[in-house]
Every structure is written in structure tokens, then in C-alpha cells.
């Protein structure tokens, strides 16, 4: 039965090759079904292997503790260096393959729905299958080089899939960032591998297990730290975590499979695999691992609190949870690390897939500020997401509670400060996950709201309109004033005429009445004209003033909107109150806003909801793998025992464990309660906890960029100069010496036979002289 091990990676490889050949011809959805079937077959093979492994004696002689090595063929036979393509089947690798293939198959199924309509549909599944193959080679390989092959393979697939929609520059550069950052870690892995070979002469795991105890402390410490560098890169720990949040540029199933459930846990796997080496290293080496994990857990959790992108929250959450696993490894609790890895794979894959379902239903909008009240619109997604939330928040009896509690208990026994960091992280975890759930599924439906940038646009339009009005009114003033002047002129002329007439009237007694009347009429007319002109002028002035008022009002609105959006980014937005549209009419709204009002968020198809339901079930019951109540219930402990040198056990008394568990539950409750107060009841403004610096990830990424762009750049330039001058100079110098020497020597070949003969003669004479000088007579 264990002989089926080779089938586990063979299925995805076959799927990959098949899709490579005929993928585009098969198209949607058949290529998706083929890939999913390959993963299903792989899962079946993994289960078969698992059953076969159960049949092997768990407590046989020391060398054969439930271990089966399947060698397919020689890969690199080079003198003492011997590497085979072979699989190491033991409880650790089988545990990994079970959840990789299981969760992987579900995510493949989910992707059929999620990637619906994508022009590169079959290519996506091709990459997914290649990834699954690489990941399985990573965990099943029976030597470090094969693991490294898988390690690089998953890195390459991660790059392909992050940059899957590479039309967008941001996605392409996110892929590059992940790839480059991982290279730093790979360096550590490689050097560790070299060091291992020079120390024990083999990189085969079985040889490493057998000889680990004989490695000197300093060498073991060096190997441990180098492996830590590798693991820090792949598993996104401080300081190399920066690529993981950016990796969210890839499609959501990728985030779930690669950047939450499987690939990012390979660092944890590697360190667990090498526990024999860590065991003989100096005691500060594991402590370093623990502190790296604890620091990352807390650091990432604080950042997650201020993220508004639904996937970014989960990305930082993943970094934080991986920190927990490192913390566990550092305290020697390998089983707890693997336990948390498995439960995390279930609930984090569930959360990511749930978020993908939400994004799918919300027209690809990822901003949680635009969600709200999706509980009723997406019943299955929300129910499963809530289960995932309870699992990660540490609410018993969901899976996350058991694994996190175990890690915290080990941390407590190692160092109280480590426990405190882990505990604060647990509170924050409960808080930010509750925040996410409340913002997404509860509260006010905000998708149809007019958004800040749209309001800004509207205000700008208003200002423009008001300014036009002012210009028009000012033109009106000019007209009116001209009219007034004209009328006044007429009035003066009329008065003059009137005066003349009156004088004439006085002169001529027998007054020409008709003429007088006419003059009077003219006078009246002129007076009317003046009055009208003045009224017009007044009106124009009033209009101008009104227009000016409108302009200043519009400008104030613009300033308000701008000030709001300049701030934390969440000031303008209100969770509970719809934005005040003022006198903006419905039909004046931007087209996008009107389209959103028409849009109806929808539940996803069954291919997407079925994996959610299965994963939710797993997230509920996975804690049963390792229950703390009795030694008989420590299933995972007993199962993984053969792969560990020193299986760690908690030594605290039952009462201490109970108190720790209760404190942990209370911590989770505090986090959830705080989120309820802020995001559900609105007792406190969210801006009190969502600090801008946290939203920017403590400017960590930016600082690296600044350093690398400034002093770092100079250093690199120096290295590049050294390379070009000395390294290249040495290589080119050898070439030049040979070429010029050859140029000189070729003159000897003159083509003159006699000079050759002379050279032979001189040589012969020289030889004779040499022999004679050495001879003793």
C-alpha cells in the first residue's frame, strides 16, 4: 500500500502534461475538471499510502519506525555525492500530503467556478497542477535536493500565479517581488544543504536522521540558522514577509492554496523535518526561531487590524499565524506546529475561498468598506465564513482553538514573555477577524453608497458649474451697467429737451401744447428707461453674489472631501450612516454609482460553495486530531512521534493548562467584544484603532525600499564595480595573457624547415648539456 507513494505526485504531473498538450483545445470547463480529477486521484493515492503506513509497525526497531523509502531512480550520481529520485514516506510527509492533496482538490474544484470566463482558464489549471506536483515533491522527497527542487518549483508556480493577470503592471511586479524575496531565503537553504553534505557526506534524510546526533554544536547551529533563513523567506516571516501581502494580486484560489494552506507552510515543514539537527544546535538557535515567530505574529496582527482590502487582512493574518507555527517550533513543540499548520490550512483556505466568493459576488470589489449586510445575500458563504472566523479567533470547540492553545501552553513553559506576545496576538486575531466579519456580513449594506471619490468628482463638477455661473453673471453685470449708462444719457438728453421746451413755453404764451406734451412724454420715457436699467443692474449684481456664494460653497465641499480622503482613508466613510448626498439628484450621480444601485450581489455556484462547506466541516472538527484531555486523545502526537527526535510534552499541571485555556478563550472574547463595540454597535470610532501607520504596515516595506534605493544601492554598485573590475578582470586577464602569448609564439612557426631543424638541434644540444651536467663521471 505504501508503494502507492509515487502515484501521489504522478497524478498532478500527468494532469500538468495533459493540460500542457491539449489544455487550450479542451477549454472551459473540461480542463478544470481534468485538473481537479488529477488532484482527486492524488488524494486517493495519499489516503492509500496513509493506510499502508498505518500497517507498518510504529514501534519497531529504531531505524524502521514507520518509515518507507521508495527509490525510483538515480538522479545525480557524482562520486561521493549520491542523490536519487526517491520518496520518504513517514508520518510527517504523509500528513502533509493528505492535507495538500485534500485541500488542493477542493480548491481546484472551487477554481472551476471562480475562474469561469477567464480567457486563460486552462493555463490556470496547468499552473495549479504543476504547483501541486512541486509541493508534493517538496514534502515527499527523500533528500534535501529533491525538497529543494520542489521548493524552487513552488516558488516558480507562485510567481506564475501571482502574476497571472500580468496585463496589470502591479500584478506583474507583485510576482517579481515574491520571486526575488524568496531567492534570499533559497540562498540559506542551499548553503545549509552544502554544509550538511560536507558535514555528514549525504543529504538523504534517512542519513541525516541517523547522523544528526553526531554533528558538532556549532555546525548544527549554523545549519539551523541557514535553514531558518530559507524558512523565513518561504514562510513569510520578519524580515522577508513583505512579498506575501503583495501576492494577493493573484486570483483568490491561488491565495488560498499557495499563500495560505500549502506553500507558505513549507518552511515549517522543513524545520520540522530537520528537528534532529535543531536538537543538537546551541540552545539560542531555537530561541531565535521562537522570537522570530512571535515578533512576526504580533507585527502582522497589528497591520491586519487596519487593512480594508478583504484579502490583505487575510494575508497579514496568514503571516501572523505562520508566526505562531515558528513560535511552536522554537519551543520544541513540533507537533503543535504541524497541528496548527493543518487546522490553519483548513480554516484559512476556507476564509480565503469565502472571501473569493464574496469578491466574485460583489463584482470584483475587494474593499470591505463597500460590503456590509451580505449575510442574507450570500447565506452559504457567510455561514461558512463565520465558522472560519470562529475557528481562527480561538473559540472552542472550533479547530483553531485547540492548536493555538497548545502552542500558547508550550510558549508559557518556555518563556512567559513569549506567551504574552502570543496572547496579545490572539486578542488581535480575534479582533481583526471579527472586524472583517462584521464589516462584510453584518451592519449596513454599503455597496450602493456613493463613494468618497465619486462625491469628490461630483463636488468638482458643482464647482465648475458655479464658476460658469459667476462668469455669466459678471457678463450680465457689464450688460446691465451699459444699459444704465445708456438710460442715464437718454434721461439727460430728455431733461435738456424738457428745459428747452419749458423755456419755449414760457416764451411763447400761446404755447404749442402738443410740443409740450411730447416733451413731457419723452421725459417720462427717459425716466422709465433709467429705472429699468437700474433694476437690471441690481439684479445682475445679486446674481453675481449668488453665484459667488455657490462657488465658495462648492469649494468648501471639495476641500472637505479632499481633507477626508487625505486622512486615514476611512474618515469619510461611515459604517453606520449613508453618505449625505445633500441636494444631489439621483440622476446626477456618476454612472458607476447608479450601476451599483442596480447591482445585486449573488451567491456563488455550487462548485464554489461545496468546497466551502467541506472546509467548514473540517474547520469544526479538525481539533479532534489532538485533544488535550487524555494521553489517548493525543492522536497527532502519537502519529508524528516516530519522526521526532525528542517529542515534546507539556509538563504543566492540569490546573495550569485549564487556566491557560480559559485565559486564551477570554482573550478571544475580549477581541470579539471590542470588535462588536466598534464595528457593530458603533460605540467608538474605528479611527481610534485603525492607525494610519498600521495601514501602511509600519512603513516596513517603504523603509526597505528607501534603504535599497539609497545606501543599499551604493553598496550594490560597489559590489558590481568589484565584480566588473576584479572578477571579470581576472578572467579576462587570463584570456588576454594567453592570446598575446600565443601571438608571440606563433612567430616561431616561420614555415622554414631549416629553422625548425635548427630548433630541434638546439633542443638536442640543450638536452645533452643537461644530461652531461647531471652525469657523474
Amino acid at each position: 500500500m505504501v508503494e502507492a507513494a509515487w502515484l501521489i505526485p504522478a497524478f498532478p504531473l500527468a494532469g500538468f502534461l495533459l493540460l500542457l498538450l491539449v489544455g487550450p483545445k479542451l477549454g472551459e470547463p473540461r480542463s478544470g475538471w481534468i485538473a481537479t480529477a488529477a488532484m482527486g486521484g492524488s488524494f486517493a493515492a495519499a489516503v492509500t499510502t496513509y493506510i499502508g503506513l498505518l500497517g507498518l509497525d510504529a514501534h519497531g526497531d529504531a531505524d524502521n519506525d514507520r518509515q518507507y523509502v521508495q527509490t525510483l531512480f538515480e538522479w545525480v550520481p557524482a562520486g561521493d555525492f549520491q542523490v536519487d529520485i526517491g520518496f520518504l514516506v513517514d508520518p510527517l510527509s504523509v500528513t502533509m500530503t493528505l492535507f495538500i492533496t485534500g485541500v488542493g482538490a477542493l480548491i481546484h474544484l472551487y477554481s472551476i467556478g471562480y475562474m469561469h470566463g477567464d480567457p486563460k482558464f486552462s493555463k490556470f489549471f496547468l499552473y495549479l497542477n504543476l504547483f501541486a506536483f512541486s509541493m508534493l515533491m517538496l514534502v515527499l522527497g527523500d533528500n534535501m535536493l529533491l525538497t529543494f527542487l520542489g521548493w524552487e518549483g513552488v516558488g516558480a508556480c507562485s510567481y506564475f500565479l501571482i502574476a497571472f493577470w500580468f496585463d496589470d503592471e502591479a500584478n506583474a511586479s507583485a510576482g517579481k517581488k515574491a520571486f526575488v524575496t524568496n531567492r534570499i531565503g533559497d540562498w540559506g537553504f542551499m548553503v545549509a544543504m552544502f554544509l550538511m553534505f560536507t558535514t555528514i557526506g549525504s543529504i538523504q534524510y534517512t542519513d541525516i536522521f541517523a547522523n544528526a546526533a553526531g554533528i558538532s554544536e556549532s555546525t548544527a547551529t549554523a545549519i539551523t540558522l541557514l535553514l531558518l533563513v530559507g524558512a523565513v523567506g518561504k514562510s513569510a516571516q520578519i524580515p522577508l514577509f513583505v512579498w506575501l501581502p503583495d501576492a494577493m494580486a493573484g486570483p483568490t484560489p491561488v491565495s488560498a492554496l499557495i499563500h495560505a494552506a500549502t506553500m507558505v507552510t513549507s518552511g515549517v515543514y522543513l524545520l520540522t523535518r530537520m528537528n534532529g539537527v535543531i536538537d543538537v544546535s546551541a540552545s539560542w538557535a531555537p530561541t531565535t526561531i521562537a522570537w522570530v515567530g512571535a515578533a512576526t505574529a504580533l507585527f502582522a496582527a497589528t497591520i491586519a487590524v487596519s487593512q480594508n482590502d478583504i484579502k490583505k487582512v487575510l494575508a497579514y493574518s496568514t503571516v501572523s499565524q505562520l508566526g505562531y507555527m515558528f513560535l511552536a517550533i522554537g519551543t520544541g513543540a513540533y507537533v503543535a506546529a504541524i497541528f496548527h499548520m493543518i487546522t490553519h490550512a483548513f480554516f484559512k483556505a476556507l476564509l480565503f475561498l469565502g472571501s473569493g466568493s464574496v469578491i466574485h459576488g460583489m463584482d470584483n470589489d475587494q474593499d470591505m468598506r463597500h460590503y456590509g449586510a451580505l449575510r442574507k445575500l450570500m447565506p452559504i458563504t457567510s455561514a461558512t465564513f463565520i465558522i472560519g472566523w470562529l475557528a481562527i479567533a480561538g473559540v472552542p470547540p472550533f479547530a483553531g482553538f485547540w492548536s493555538k492553545d497548545e502552542i500558547l501552553a508550550f510558549a508559557w513553559e518556555e518563556n512567559k514573555l513569549l506567551w504574552a506576545v502570543g496572547f496579545i496576538t490572539a486578542i488581535l486575531t480575534a479582533f481583526y477577524m471579527s472586524r472583517q466579519v462584521f464589516m462584510t456580513f453584518f451592519g449596513r449594506y454599503r455597496f450602493a453608497d456613493v463613494r468618497a471619490e465619486e462625491l469628490e468628482e461630483l463636488a468638482a463638477m458643482k464647482v465648475a458649474a458655479a464658476e460658469t455661473a459667476v462668469t455669466e453673471a459678471e457678463a450680465g453685470i457689464g450688460d446691465a451697467e451699459a444699459a444704465v449708462a445708456k438710460a442715464t444719457e437718454k434721461l439727460e438728453k430728455a431733461s435738456e429737451k424738457l428745459v428747452t421746451r419749458e423755456a419755449e413755453m414760457a416764451d411763447a404764451d400761446a404755447a404749442d401744447e402738443k410740443a409740450t406734451e411730447k416733451a413731457t412724454k419723452n421725459l417720462d420715457k427717459a425716466r422709465d428707461g433709467v429705472e429699468k436699467a437700474q433694476v437690471a443692474a441690481d439684479e445682475a449684481t445679486t446674481a453675481v453674489e449668488a453665484a459667488r456664494r455657490a462657488v465658495s460653497a462648492a469649494q468648501a465641499q471639495v476641500a472637505h472631501v479632499a481633507a477626508a480622503s487625505m486622512g486615514s482613508g476611512s474618515l469619510e466613510f461611515d459604517l453606520f450612516v449613508a453618505p449625505d448626498l445633500g441636494d444631489i439628484a439621483e440622476e446626477d450621480l456618476p454612472e458607476a454609482a447608479r450601476a451599483r444601485r442596480e447591482y445585486h450581489p449573488h451567491e456563488s455556484p455550487w462548485t464554489m460553495t461545496l468546497p466551502l462547506v467541506i472546509l467548514a466541516g473540517a474547520a469544526i472538527v479538525a481539533g479532534g486530531m489532538n485533544l488535550p484531555f487524555a494521553s489517548d486523545l493525543h492522536f497527532l502526537d502519537h502519529w508524528l512521534e516516530p519522526t521526532l527526535v525528542h517529542p515534546a510534552h507539556l509538563t504543566s499541571s492540569a490546573s495550569v493548562k485549564w487556566i491557560l485555556a480559559i485565559v486564551a478563550v477570554m482573550g478571544g472574547a475580549i477581541g470579539i467584544a471590542a470588535a462588536v463595540m466598534i464595528y457593530l454597535k458603533g460605540r467608538f470610532p474605528a479611527s481610534k484603532v485603525e492607525l494610519p501607520i498600521m495601514a501602511e504596515g509600519w512603513r516596513f516595506d517603504e523603509s526597505i525600499a528607501n534603504f535599497m534605493g539609497g545606501p543599499g544601492r551604493k553598496g550594490f554598485d560597489l559590489v558590481a564595480w568589484f565584480d566588473a573590475t576584479f572578477v571579470d578582470g581576472a578572467v579576462n586577464g587570463v584570456g588576454r595573457v594567453v592570446r598575446e602569448g600565443g601571438g608571440q609564439l606563433r612567430r616561431l612557426q616561420s614555415g622554414l624547415v631549416r629553422s625548425y631543424a635548427a630548433m630541434v638541434a638546439i633542443g638536442a644540444i640543450g638536452l645533452i648539456i643537461w644530461f652531461l651536467s647531471r652525469a657523474s663521471f
Binding site: S750, R754, A761
Partner: protein
């Protein structure tokens, strides 16, 4: 007066020197060939003389090899000389230097 081995060796040395000098100073390919023959036969004399002196037959065996090689060399060499002479009448060894580097 008995002719001792020394005489043979001296004759051999003289013949060899004449041949070597001739090879170096003459430019006619045919004469140069003769000089090479002279050198080879000088060596043959010393082989035979020393073989007799040391009572070792391998000296004479070596002479046979040298003779065979000399014959072969003459066959190829003369063919070359004839071919070159057909092309360029009166060419000396120094004129045929097209193979210079």
C-alpha cells in the same frame, strides 16, 4: 692498429655533424634529404658499433627499424620534392613557407 669502437663512434659523430650542418645551411631540398640520410646512417653506425661492443643484438635490430623509417621517409619526401618541383621549378626549402603561423 686495431680499429676500436671509438673510431666508429668518432666516424659516426663526424658524419652526423656533417649531416646536421648540411641540413642547416643548404637550401636545396634534395641535398637536405641527403643530409638527413647522412645523419640517420651516422646513428646506424653508432648503433652497430655499440651493439658489437656491448655484445647486444638489439643495437642491430634498431638499425633495421631506422632503415625502414628512412626508406619510408625517402619515399614520401622524394614524392613531395617532385611534386613541389613540378609546381615551382627550382624552389628552395625556404621558398616553401606557406605553412608559417
Amino acid at each position: 692498429m686495431e680499429v676500436s669502437t671509438d673510431w666508429y663512434l668518432i666516424l659516426s659523430a663526424v658524419l652526423f655533424s656533417i649531416g646536421a650542418t648540411g641540413l642547416l645551411i643548404r637550401r636545396n631540398p634534395l641535398v637536405m634529404f641527403m643530409c638527413v640520410e647522412l645523419m640517420l646512417n651516422a646513428v646506424n653506425i653508432s648503433f652497430v658499433a655499440l651493439g658489437t661492443e656491448l655484445n647486444d643484438v638489439s643495437g642491430q635490430i634498431a638499425v633495421f627499424f631506422v632503415l625502414v623509417v628512412a626508406a619510408v621517409e625517402v619515399v614520401v619526401g622524394l614524392a613531395l620534392v617532385v611534386a613541389i618541383n613540378r609546381r615551382r621549378r627550382g624552389a628552395t626549402a625556404d621558398d616553401i613557407s606557406v605553412l608559417r603561423g
